[in-house]
Subunit: 707 residues, 2 copies
């Protein structure tokens, strides 16, 4: 599943895409409005390195000499930007030959996105690029921007201001919309990348580049599909250790997924699997573009909160209530102020003000009241961050208040301050002042709260040490033997399937093979009544049909009778059968049924599922997913996040189930399917979970192998 070429390329430095020493624009056109012309103009305007125009039909463009081809330049350029019709692009690459650039950005559309012919052209392009060791960005992309270096290598309009947000997107159109919002709202970027068809360079290549980029505080991306899920997770996890990675993933529902297929031909993974993958690698999922923007602003401008205790300062009760509502909905808490804080507020605010959290400064609050209150709220040790709300009332000093907040935020650099100046016309100047000084403003109180909630979550996650996946000792040889024996049939069930999970330490029912009634009696005594009795024979498939399996045997008398009946039924119905003996098997009782499953996802590989058995899975769809391999924490989260989890803790007078045994079984299942990639599907249904410390027993196992 891992692209074989990737490994070789993965440490390649892509920095030259962002700060190339020299650039050639192939297809630099004379006609105003043409893509190649716009790009060349954008570069001519502010690019500081060597710039070449390639256009066989022109003498000069904007005072630059035109070369007829890349090779005619006579030396290697670092970056070629290609904006000629798609069918000519392979020739441009090929012609460069020994003077091939280090990288090429292919702006031209008309490749994979248009159908089979285009896909062939794209394959041809990539074959040539691989031969000449040229890294390709695109095709079908808008280009990229590095505002800090004044590099606008795109036809996407004017350069945004320099900022700390990196953005990369598969959709060029979304790039244009995002740039327009950013320009309208004064938002800056560190790097802005249109990935296009991702024939070569994709998010997985860019993540480490952006993680190492000192100008970038937060990495944001819009995804439609991921080809190599595992590599993405690894790259995103590693990037996430350095800075937050925020992803907007489209194509979440089946209607959306249809649109993805018709749009880029990439396969949209199932919603559940993406959610599991993002959770495991710490990618922060944005619900929509708005959310992406909010998160980008919060993460890029403000420090991470050290906890979840939030203070709210407002000049209006209603919005304060909305913020308090949101605090609870997002799993944060309203900070419980230190008595000193309450005292300070009481002394300095009017008598009618609310000095508890949310702090209501009242409608006539001037700038100084805001400044004082933010100061004491930030000083309070019980506060991890503050949200400041302002409504433009008759006396409100909008710009002055913004200045006060900026000052207080600057002198408390360890705690995040998010603002919400509510309105548009009157508040505009205040918002603009806030944004210029790195205080992000949110349109509505809920948005500020949900942003700080995600910041708190990220902070918690980043502080955790990456858990090691500890291998359990297992009997791999036995598994290999069974899989080899069964590989042709492609399906393993019954005793053989049980043996496989047992080899990985998930126990099946206890059994004893006996040959006499006396041995059967002592086996039953050992296993404890009630027991199950079965004829053990390779020749008998449907045991219950002919009366050679007896369940619920309660005592010695029952057992003697059942033993004789089984023997006589074998004699009567299958006189030729080879009889290995009689199996005495424990009957698992007082257990709670759960289901453990595994499925092989085309993009992410083995995915583990957990749910409570019966109606909980089938009717309530109450299941959780994680990608294998599972850490202990993953397995625990899987169990905890199901709604029906409390049933395992024992409710209504029932005994607590052995939750640890379920977690252990999940980890062992994960180890099994990672060790044996031949396994494409596996269900343990049910796993019978006994009372606390009593373990769990796999009652039935079904395995599908790769065919």
């Amino acid at each position: 599943m891992v692209d074989p070429a990737r490994k070789a390329r993965e440490r390649a430095d892509l920095g030259f895409f962002f700060s190339p020493r020299s650039i050639a624009v192939v297809g630099a056109a004379r006609e105003p409005g043409k893509v190649g012309r716009i790009i060349f103009e954008n570069l001519a305007k502010s690019y500081k390195g060597e710039l070449f125009a390639v256009n066989p039909k022109a003498e000069e463009i904007l005072g630059y000499k035109c070369y007829s081809s890349l090779s005619e330049i006579g030396k290697q350029v670092e970056l070629a930007i290609i904006a000629v019709p798609a069918r000519f692009v392979p020739d441009v690459i090929k012609e460069a030959g020994s003077l091939a650039p280090k990288g090429a950005m292919v702006i031209s559309a008309g490749f994979k996105e248009t159908g089979i012919e285009g896909a062939k052209l794209e394959a041809k392009l990539m074959a040539l690029a691989n031969d000449l060791e040229i890294r390709i960005l695109g095709p079908n992309c808008l280009g990229l921007m590095n505002p800090a270096k004044k590099l606008n290598a795109s036809f996407a309009g004017s350069l945004p201001k320099a900022g700390k947000i990196a953005f990369m997107s598969q959709s060029g159109a979304l790039c244009t919309a995002i740039l327009d919002w950013a320009n309208g709202g004064g938002v800056g970027f560190s790097k802005f990348i249109s990935l296009g068809n991702k024939a070569d360079i994709d998010e997985i290549d860019m993540l480490p580049v952006l993680a190492n980029d000192p100008d970038t505080n937060v990495i944001t991306t819009y995804l439609e599909g991921i080809k190599d899920g595992r590599a993405f997770i690894e790259a995103a996890y590693n990037a996430g250790l350095r800075k937050p990675v925020v992803a907007l993933k489209a194509g979440t529902t089946s209607a959306g997924a249809r649109a993805v297929s018709s749009h880029t031909g990439t396969l949209a993974g199932s919603e559940n699997v993406y959610n599991a993958a993002f959770k495991q690698c710490g990618v922060i999922r944005a619900a929509n573009v708005e959310d992406l923007f909010d998160l980008a602003l919060g993460f890029s401008e403000q420090p991470l909160p050290k906890g979840r205790r939030l203070a709210i300062v407002t000049n209006a009760g209603g919005p304060g209530i909305m913020a308090a509502d949101a605090v609870e909905q997002h799993g944060l808490t309203l900070a419980n102020f230190d008595p000193k804080t309450v005292e300070a507020l009481r002394e300095n605010l009017p008598a009618e003000a609310n000095v508890y959290n949310p702090v209501d400064l009242l409608g006539d609050a001037l700038a100084a009241r805001y400044g004082f209150s933010l100061d004491v709220a930030l000083d309070d040790e019980n506060t991890d961050g503050v949200i400041v709300l302002l409504t433009p009332q008759a006396m409100t000093e909008i710009v002055e208040t913004a200045k006060e907040l900026i000052e207080q935020s600057k002198s408390h650099k360890d705690k995040p301050v998010l603002t919400c100046f509510m309105g548009q016309a009157e508040v505009a100047k205040g918002i603009s002042a806030l944004q210029k000084s790195g205080l992000p403003n949110f349109v509505f109180p809920e948005r500020a709260v949900s942003t700080i909630a995600k910041m708190a979550e990220y902070a918690e996650r980043r502080n955790q040490i990456r858990p090691e996946i500890k291998r359990r000792p297992v009997n791999g040889l036995l598994v290999e033997e069974i899989i080899n024996a069964e590989s042709e049939r492609g399906k393993i069930v019954g005793a053989q399937a049980l043996k496989i999970v047992e080899a990985y330490g998930i126990r099946g029912p206890k059994t004893k093979l006996v040959h006499t009634i006396r041995d059967a009696l002592s086996a039953a005594t050992e296993l404890k009544y009630p027991v199950v009795l079965k004829a053990s024979s390779p020749d008998i498939l449907h045991k219950s049909d002919i009366g050679v399996i007896k369940i619920g045997i309660a005592d010695d008398v029952d057992l003697r009778r059942a033993y004789r009946e089984i023997l006589s039924n074998v004699d009567r119905y299958l006189p030729e059968a080879e009889l290995w003996g009689i199996t005495v098997q424990e009957m698992v009782q007082d257990a709670r049924e759960v289901i453990l499953g595994m499925n092989d996802d085309p993009q992410f590989g083995p995915v583990i599922m957990f749910g409570l058995g019966g109606v909980y899975v089938e009717v309530l769809k109450d299941v959780s997913f994680r990608l294998a391999p599972l850490t202990e924490a993953d397995a625990r989260e899987m169990v905890l996040e199901t709604r029906s989890f409390p049933l395992l803790q024992g409710v209504r007078g029932q005994e607590r189930s052995d939750i640890e045994a379920v977690i252990d079984a999940l980890i062992r299942l994960s180890q099994l399917v990672v060790d044996w990639p031949q396994i494409k599907e596996l269900d343990i249904n049910p796993l019978m979970v006994l009372g606390a410390d009593k373990g769990a027993v796999a009652a039935d196992v079904r395995i599908l192998l790769e065919v």
Copy 2:
């Protein structure tokens, strides 16, 4: 619960608040910046009626003569606007005497919102106002605006443009923020009302006024609490038949609810009850201010869709996918174009365009391509509405495209068109053109989709005929008798409680009282084994402790033995007890347990709850609520909306339960608690639901009465 004064007032015409023939501003101040001065200035600027200034300390203000009091004016004014310190307000009212105005708007703060003393002052004010028959808006409010009449009777800044949205809010501060957004975005209002403390006039009074207002297309409101829930529901239901009512309700979570209490002293109803109430009266709930704005724009500017089939037209794949995702998430469907539409698009769009829904016009789409495609999409009979997305790409004609969309929308007035020009800087001119022509623009595709989804829901609901509540025949006399007998204890359980629900047609277990073994045997044969046997005696409370109840009696032999044992246990342990006989009772088997409950909500009165028994209620909290009285449709929705509902349909080979019997029991329970308001709590737990057409049996009932 219903305010006794309300009935008398409810048909009162409040129109003079919005178009008063004369206004006096009491507290019209000379000092610039003072509230009374701002209001007077705002009125002097554009109010067309007679305007008086009342200020005993001034001669004239802005060229208007100052009167020392209302009575000094010498005639009755329709509306007095009072902006003097709170403590003087009652005197202002009192002094007016026989020249009391029809209505008074009390701007002054310092009443109920400040605590007990303020609440007393407010009560004093209202007593005087009731005596003099003055309707009061406020106190502690910003005032109101009627932009179409150029009436700005507020200190909330400049008059917004005239529009079709009515807004009323308990929170004055939110009013200022909403106005500022509206002014920034060019949004207009029909009426804008700050309700303040709602001492007299509240949402319930305003709803019929706004429902009858020809300038208003949609009624929006921000609520923190409702005093008289039933009256609100009735008013909102009636208003909703004429035009949509959109409410933002704050204080939804417990953190928020704390803030509500400290803010206005109103009680926040529980989230579940509010949701049930809004569903039943058709109020559209906005999730936040943003949502309120979006819904107000969609409803006020565009026609309602006739169905849920949506077309999407876009110049960018990514946003198209987001919109398609949202379509599914919000219960809409992507319209399946008529072949003629597909053909027309295919003939007129470039070959690479997607001619199926979502229609992708490609990044180089000019205005004409948009216009043509919107035209055919609107013409298609399979389309109920269209969402048009635009990203500002290199060649995009933003303003021209807006014009094309406006034209097409105007020539297809029967179907809604919502736009989403994504961006801020470049797209601004296009958005402004759209808004001026009544095409609402949404910041993100999801928002347009969620708005049209609510519009479709409202259209469906409004077309339904209000269901009658049909009374079931019941035995009210028996209930009265039992309630009277038990009213002192305040609690009814056991057989008496069962009798009450039985009197309302919810059956309890079948029982026979017998006095001989022979009669017991024939009773058991009639009821069918297994049965339960109990001593029937008013003197025996805990029957199982002393062996006078026997369950699971399987046959005649069992029954004889049990009968004798019960008699001998009564003899042994309670020789003095009065024995009425022995009760033979059916044992309900093969039933699914559900819970029906009722609770008396302080704001909304009797609320009915439904859930599946056991873990489904206790662990999964899978319950639904509606206010009594229930219509048949309400009861059915209650059952259908629980997640565990499929269990009643029969899953995993189980029989389908008698769902109709559950619905019938809910309706009968509703009738019972409406008929007998003494009942404050009632639980039928469990109601044993038998197989299809076999009915349901209340196994245990617990009733709490008003004490």
